[in-house]
Each structure stands twice: as C-alpha cells, then as structure tokens.
C-alpha cells in the first residue's frame, strides 16, 4: 500500500485550513477527563431535554416511516410556520424566503460562502461566538474584529470607524454569546444608520432571541430600509432545547437566498427530517419556551446578584451566559479557568476563546439545575478568595 504519495504531512492539508487556529477550548476537554464532582458551567446548550411533546412527534414520525430527504428548502409546513412565527420579532417574511438549515452553524457558513470573495472584509464585533472568523478566513476573506470591551456593545460610532469602504458584511449576534448583551430598538436603529452609510450586509445571528429578559427581542431586519440588507439566522437549538436535532433556518433577501440554496443543496442537501418534524411541533409548543425562559431568568437574576458580589459583571440581557471580568484576581483567563477547574472542580470557558479582547474575562453558562448553580457560585467565591490577589 502506498503511504502518502511522498507529500509531507504539512502539505496535505490546504494552507487556508492549516492556518485556522484550533479552538481554545480543546485543552480543557483533556483536563476535565477523569475528574469527579465537576460542575460544568462550560456548556453552551440547555440543560433541559427536548420537551416531551416534541420528542413524541418525532418518535411518531419515525414509526410512520418519515425517514427520507426533504426538499432542499425544508418542509413547506415548517417554512410557513417560521414565516408566521417571525412576525413576533417584527419581521414580515414570506415562506419563500425561509431556508431550513442544519442549525445556525450551517446557515452562517452558507451566507459567508455566498457573500465573501477572496479579499472581502467582514466586520465582526468581539468577543463573539467562535465560528464567524474561521468561516470568513476559509473563504479567503479578511475578518476584521471590532473590540467592544468593556460594555460589549456595537454602536454607530464604533462601526463608523471602519468607514474605509472595504467592509462588505457585518456579523451581528444578539442576545450575544458569550456576553449576554442585547440591543433595544433604538440602539439597533443607530447601528442600522451606520450599516446604511457603509453599505453593509448584516448577518444577524438571533439564535438566542427567545431568551431575552430585558424588554423584547427586535430583529434588525424589521427596521426601515434593512429588509434587503439583513440575513437572519435562527433555529430550534436554544429556545426549544433541540441542539442535537440540528434544525435552524435562514431568512434572506432573494438574491442571497438563491446563492445560499445552491451551496446548501450540494453540501447538506437538507436538514434532518426528524428534526424538521419536531420543529413543526415546537412552533405549536411556545408555552414550553415560556417555562424554560422563566427558569433561565431566575438563574440570571441569581448569578447577576451573587457573582456580582465577587466579580465585576454586566447583567446579561439575554442568553444563558454571564461574562464576568476576572482580571482583578491577577490571573489570565486561562489561568483562572484552569485553576478553578483543578482546585474547585468548576468548569468555565476562558474569555479569550471568544476573541483577543475577551482576555481578562471568563464565560459561565447557567444552563445547569439551580442547586448545582448555587454550589458552583459558592465554589467560585472560595476560589477567588483563596487564590485571587487583593
């Protein structure tokens, strides 16, 4: 058998892929293995299982033999349901504008591949979710990050600093992973002004929209003049606790939609049918969302209060994340996260995993049962008192 055709290992993988930095979380996986009694606040997914009535529909669909591909676009009933559902965030979309994807992850990938040509610039406010930057870079685009510490908010002024005409897209995620920050309608209108002036396309990742505790989520696509500029991403993973089902969706202007559909039909074909059927039932089960949101909100209040007594913390507007500043302890993000895991068996994600300006912070997810959350915050308090400076 021939081995590698004489190519050195380093030359087998495409350069643009080689250059992607590995995830900062990787080494923590190794550290956590074999440890007993670890409370993980490092999990970016709900602690609730898929609501039973949704699971029941999926089980039933399997019994009836719904196991085929669907249309590339997704099940018509689901697309119609989503178009209607999204009016709650102010958007009047046609079912024809809705594409069902395998989670938001696929949707974001499709949009970036559709829009970015080599050399194109994508503006990405940081700290942010880990996938945007690598996906832009795989396409040969340039990911220009906008640091938003210490308030984690994109503003008109911050965006206008990039008025050199080079940027093509802006990736906006709110409520935001990892900071929990969201925007009011007024704040979005200011961002929209800058988007218009800079002639940008907005990729709006609204996966945490339902988990908004301060006011109500407004989609930037609902603002005047924005409908042709915004690609909306959302899905069923967070609000409906359906992470493993892999169902998300995109609402996009026709030209961008057509481009994304081309890639989607070759790379994914369709989202899993079982998940799509579950998603149809999910849209009939909004009271399940209310129940879970209420529980997250209690935890959010608890964390904001108790953790706020120990560390500097911006109260999250949404999501199930808190992003406290830990630099007062004299430790780096990674030192803090590693120390907390080794000494107190609490897992959190170092803030620099979400961009350079996340250094000095850690992300903790309050997607754990309340008793565990209480215990974890107690342990963090002990850790800061025992190992922190001052």
């Amino acid at each position: 058998m021939k081995k590698t055709g004489g190519l050195r290992l380093s030359r087998r993988v495409a350069k643009r892929v080689e250059e992607i930095r590995p995830s900062g979380i990787r080494k923590f996986f190794d550290l956590v293995i074999g440890r007993e009694d670890v409370i993980s606040l490092g999990v970016g997914e709900p602690d609730f299982p898929v609501p039973w009535r949704i699971r029941e529909e999926m089980i039933y669909s399997l019994e009836k033999g719904y196991t085929s591909y669907t249309s590339n676009l997704g099940l018509p009933e689901l697309r119609e349901g989503i178009a209607e559902y999204y009016t709650r965030f102010g958007v009047k979309a046609l079912p024809e504008q809705v594409l069902i994807t395998s989670g938001v992850s696929e949707g974001v990938d499709l949009a970036i591949r559709t829009l970015i040509e080599p050399g194109d610039v994508a503006l990405i406010p940081e700290p942010c979710y880990v996938s945007y930057k690598p996906l832009v870079e795989i396409c040969g685009g340039e990911a220009v990050t906008i640091p938003t510490v210490p308030d984690f908010k994109l503003t008109y002024e911050r965006l206008m600093e990039y008025a050199d005409g080079k940027a093509k897209i802006l990736v906006l995620n709110y409520p935001a992973n990892p900071t929990g920050v969201s925007y009011s309608k007024k704040e979005l209108e200011e961002i929209a002004d800058a988007v218009n002036e800079l002639d940008l396309i907005v990729l709006s990742d609204e996966i945490y929209a339902e988990l908004t505790y301060t006011g109500r989520h407004v989609s930037i696509a609902s603002l005047n003049g924005m409908e042709d500029r915004v690609v909306i991403f959302n899905g069923f993973s967070k609000a409906f606790a359906m992470t493993g089902m892999r169902v998300g969706y995109v609402i996009a202007p026709p030209d961008i939609f057509a481009g994304m559909l081309k890639i989607h039909q070759y790379c994914m074909l369709c989202a899993p049918i079982t998940g799509q059927i579950g998603a149809i039932e999910a849209l009939r089960s909004l009271d399940e969302v209310d129940r879970m949101r209420a529980e997250y909100m209690r935890r959010r209040n608890f964390v904001a209060k108790k953790l706020g007594e120990i560390l500097e913390l911006k109260r999250p507007d949404g999501t199930f994340y808190a992003f406290p500043k830990i630099s007062s302890t004299g430790m780096s993000s990674e030192e803090f996260a590693e120390g907390l895991l080794m000494k107190k068996n609490v897992a959190v994600v170092p803030g620099n995993a979400f961009g350079e300006c996340g250094e000095g912070y850690v992300r903790l997810a309050f997607a754990v049962k309340f008793d565990k959350l209480k215990e974890a915050i107690e342990r963090i308090k002990e850790f800061v008192e025992e190992y922190g400076e001052g």
């Binding site: 995830s23 979380i25 923590f28 996986f29 956590v32 670890v38 993980s40 490092g42 999990v43 970016g44 997914e45 602690d47 299982p49 609501p51 039973w52 009535r53 699971r55 029941e56 019994e63 979710y129 880990v130 992973n177 399940e288 209420a294 209690r298 935890r299 209040n301 608890f302 904001a304 209060k305 108790k306 897992a347 994600v349 995993a353 979400f354 309340f370 209480k374």
Partner: protein, 163 residues
Amino acid sequence: MESLEIEVLKLLEENGRMSVEEMAEVLALPTERVEEIIRKLEENGVILKYKAIVDWEKVHEDFVYALINVKVSLTRERGYDDIAKRIAKFPEVHAVRLVSGEYDFQVVIKGKSLKDVAFFVAEKISTIPEVRDTFTHFVLRTYKEEGVNLFSDEEDRRLAFVP
C-alpha cells in the same frame, strides 16, 4: 393578582424550603419585598402550609382536572411500563397509575379549560397505538395531588465544554 406574587408562589410550590434571601436573588427583588409578599400570601390563606401546596383557586388561576380511564392492548414489545411512561411524559399529565379492574391506567390531566383537556385526550392519548379506549371524567374539586414523575430514565449527557 400581581405577577410578582405569582412568581413567589411558583418558587415555593417547587421548593417550600427556599429561603427568602434566595427568592429575592432569583427574582431580583429586595429581601424585604419578598418577606412582605409572603406574609400577605400567608395572611390571605393563599399559602395553606409549608409543603408549599398552593390553592390556585384563591388567586383566580383556575385549572381543570380530569381523570381518564384508559384501556390498552399489550404487545411483546410494549408492556405496561412502556405505555405508562409514554403517557406520563406529557407535561399536561398530572399522574398516571396502573389500576386493577376494568381499566388499565388512571391518568390525571391538568388543563386550562374543558375544551383544552378534551382536545388533549383526543389528540395525544387516544392516538397512541396501544390505547383502545378512553373515558374522561372531569374533576369538580381536587382534594389531593402529587404532580411529580416517579421514574427517571434520562440523565445529563452533554459534553463538559460547548462553545
């Protein structure tokens, strides 16, 4: 009744021993405000005793209860336990008991209206393949209730880190 009082009741129904301080924390209220709310609820007889059994009728949050007698047919693959669990996992279902006599299961359903419950039975219980017959009896007054699943077959299988 104002929504803050409802929030406190929900917490106590879940955990009658939750401290006032903790309640204040999860509701983002001053401790004194929570104490005042609880005292008022006690005085008004809304909180009957500290297993935190809440008299929802007193706060005009009426629910409809129904007892459903269910007849099923068993197969080699599906025993009583399988069918019972399948029924029990619906949040609308308050209790499920295997009983002797003419029927197999007694199911207690909690809903917002007669219509709610009737549709639920028609759409979700009667449609389970093993279910042969259902007989619905609406509850006029409830004297005792439990409301907790007595089995658990699910655990946290999530990875320790997810970005």
